[in-house]
Structure formats: structure tokens, C-alpha cells
């Protein structure tokens, strides 16, 4: 269910930027915080893309590990479980440097060859 909602958002974003051109590839960066199952997202993408310029496009996913940084003591770590208290100083003031993104980075669109006027 989660992947279906996200697939819809990805297709809408790609479609808006395609400006009517056929989309061949959609590249998405997704942080592990988002708990997206890649195969499930690809499956949903194929369904949601039907009857849009994204139909048949290949979805390329880059998964990003969660990278945390403590604002109090500058400790940085990659957590195994979603625990956000600093393991070094116990501060709760922790920022997610990477790993919670859901970004459409790029698309590849097909262009008709431009024929210069004679």
C-alpha cells in the first residue's frame, strides 16, 4: 500500500517534467527511513504508469543508508535500528544527514529528431 502511494507521486513528478514527451527512465533516490521495498515500488510503478507518458519506463532506484549526526557532540553514525538518541552523549538533538529522502533525481525522455527546415 505504501509503495502504491509513493509510485503515484513518482509518476506524477516525472510526468510533469516530461512535458508530453515519452519517458524511458526514471531515477529515484530513496532513503531507508522511508521503508520502501524496491521490488514492490517497481511493481506499483508499472501499474500506476499505465496510460501515462511513463508507461513502460524503467524505474531505477538508489537506496541511501541512514546517516545520523549529533548536533551536541558532532558524533556521526549509521544506525542498525531506528534509534535516534546519540550513542556517544545521549543527546536527543540528532539530525538525519541522509536516509530520509524520496527524490526524483532525473528522467530520460525520448525526443523526436529535429529536422532542420530546408
Amino acid at each position: 500500500m505504501h509503495e502504491l502511494s509513493i509510485a503515484g507521486a513518482v509518476v506524477n513528478t516525472a510526468t510533469r517534467h516530461a512535458e508530453g514527451r515519452r519517458v524511458a527512465v526514471v531515477r529515484v533516490r530513496v532513503g531507508r527511513m522511508r521503508q520502501v521495498v524496491p521490488d514492490s515500488l517497481r511493481f506499483c510503478f508499472d501499474i500506476v504508469a499505465r496510460d501515462s507518458v511513463c508507461e513502460g519506463a524503467r524505474l531505477e532506484l538508489v537506496e541511501v543508508d541512514v546517516h545520523l549526526r549529533c548536533r551536541a557532540c558532532a558524533w556521526e553514525w549509521l544506525p542498525d535500528i531506528p534509534a535516534f538518541r546519540c550513542p556517544n552523549c545521549s543527546s536527543a538533538d540528532v539530525s538525519i544527514e541522509e536516509g530520509d529522502e524520496l527524490v526524483v533525481d532525473e528522467i530520460e525522455v525520448e525526443e523526436a529528431e529535429c529536422i532542420a527546415p530546408g
Binding site: S5, Q35, I81, E108
Partner: protein
């Protein structure tokens, strides 16, 4: 035919966030504070709302937007409490959406008596996953977590637990019948969202309801009112 790369670098949920910001602007214009109330199905969102709305909240006029996949059972329950309740069904969407998004809430705005309320509680569709992804224009997010769900839910649904300012731990009355370790559950909530506000509650016994009412009153009082 040849291919062109189009650089985008845009949050996939930007379109939703833009509409959420428009909702927020409309709420602000009417001086309405909005709380997005979320939980797993059956955790007790509606029961806790019933408890809290039985008595007035310190001069705060409350309205409720009830999100459900289908039906108006929850709205009917709340209607007897003499607060304006608007039902929003997600069923006409893609087979019944499992969450409210900003656009669905926007579609309900004309039905909401925004000039007559100070606080709008949006009861989201019961689900610990998708609602966390979609902002709807709220000032704050609160969630209900029932002890019957087990100790591990914060670790399994960190996005939801992290996005909230308040976690109401409900069904405390059932603890004697369960093999659930409350301390462990609270520890997991703290791990995922350190220092988040917590209220230990039971819609059955009324425990924690006064605190929950106080939290809502404080949230509404945070708003700096625009002069009339």
C-alpha cells in the same frame, strides 16, 4: 528518436506539500489550529476523541474532520457530542486510499465551518505507514499507540513515530491481561523520537484524558491570533 536527460531533483511529495501549504494558509487565515491524529486501525483514536470532547476544552471550539476509507460510523459517534463533524471518505480514489493527502483535505474545506472553530482535529485513516508520508496542512501531529499493538511498533514504523509531537499510549487498562512490557514500549518510543511528549491513557477508564485535553488546549493557545 534520441534520448534527453532531464535533471529534476525534486521531492516526490512536493506536489502534496504545496497543496498542504495552501491548506495551512487557509487555516491560518481563519485562525484555526490543526492537529493530524494518526494511529493503526483500532488503536482508539475515535474513542479518545469521544472522551476528550465530552467536556468543553477551555473555551476552545473544536471541529473534527473524519477520514475513513468508507462509511460514517466514526462521524456518527462523534456527532452526538455537539461538535461539527465532517466526514471524508477516500473510497472514490484508487480503490480507497489508505491515508488522507493534502488534496483530499482541501476538497473538504468548503464543508468545514472554519469561522466557528478554533481547533480542527483531522482523524486520519487508521494506518501506521502512508499517513506519515503525507502532510495535510497541520500545525502538529499526534498519534495513538495502543499497548495491545506490542512493544516493537515504534521500531517497525519509525517514520510515523518520529513525525509526531505527541504519542498517546492507549488501552492501559488492558495491561494486566497482556504480555506487553510498558517500560520497553516507552523505551522504544524514546529511541525513535527522543523527548517526544507522551500521555498514558485509557479511553475505557478515562485515565490520561484530562492530560490529552490539556495538550489540545495548549496547542490551540500557541497560536498568535490575528487582530479582528
Amino acid at each position: 528518436m534520441h534520448r534527453t536527460r532531464v535533471r529534476i531533483v525534486e521531492d516526490a511529495l512536493d506536489a502534496n506539500n504545496t497543496i498542504a501549504a495552501a491548506n495551512r494558509a487557509d487555516f491560518d487565515r481563519h485562525d484555526v489550529t490543526v492537529v493530524n491524529l494518526m494511529s493503526a486501525p483500532g488503536a482508539g483514536k475515535t474513542s479518545l476523541l469521544e472522551c476528550v470532547l465530552r467536556e468543553p476544552i477551555d473555551g476552545v471550539r473544536v471541529g473534527v474532520l473524519e477520514g475513513d476509507v468508507r462509511g460514517s460510523m466514526d462521524a456518527d459517534r462523534l456527532a452526538s457530542l455537539h461538535v461539527p463533524v465532517v466526514q471524508l471518505n477516500t473510497d472514490p480514489g484508487f480503490g480507497g486510499e489508505c491515508h488522507l493527502d493534502a488534496n483530499m483535505v482541501r476538497s473538504a474545506l468548503p464543508a468545514l465551518p472554519l469561522d466557528e472553530i478554533d481547533l480542527l482535529v483531522i482523524e486520519n485513516v487508521g494506518n501506521l505507514v502512508c499517513p506519515a508520508e503525507f502532510r495535510v496542512g497541520e500545525d502538529a501531529r499526534a498519534m495513538v499507540c495502543a499497548v495491545t499493538e506490542g512493544e516493537d511498533k515504534p521500531l517497525k514504523y519509525p517514520l510515523m513515530f518520529r513525525s509526531c509531537e505527541l504519542v498517546v499510549v492507549n488501552k492501559l487498562d488492558l495491561l494486566p491481561h497482556l504480555d506487553v512490557d510498558l517500560d520497553k514500549l516507552l523505551h522504544h518510543i524514546d529511541a525513535v523520537n527522543p523527548d517526544v511528549e507522551r500521555i498514558l491513557a485509557s479511553a475505557k477508564t478515562g485515565a490520561g484524558v484530562a492530560e490529552w485535553r490539556g495538550w489540545l488546549a495548549e496547542l490551540a493557545a500557541r497560536r498568535v491570533r490575528t487582530p479582528a
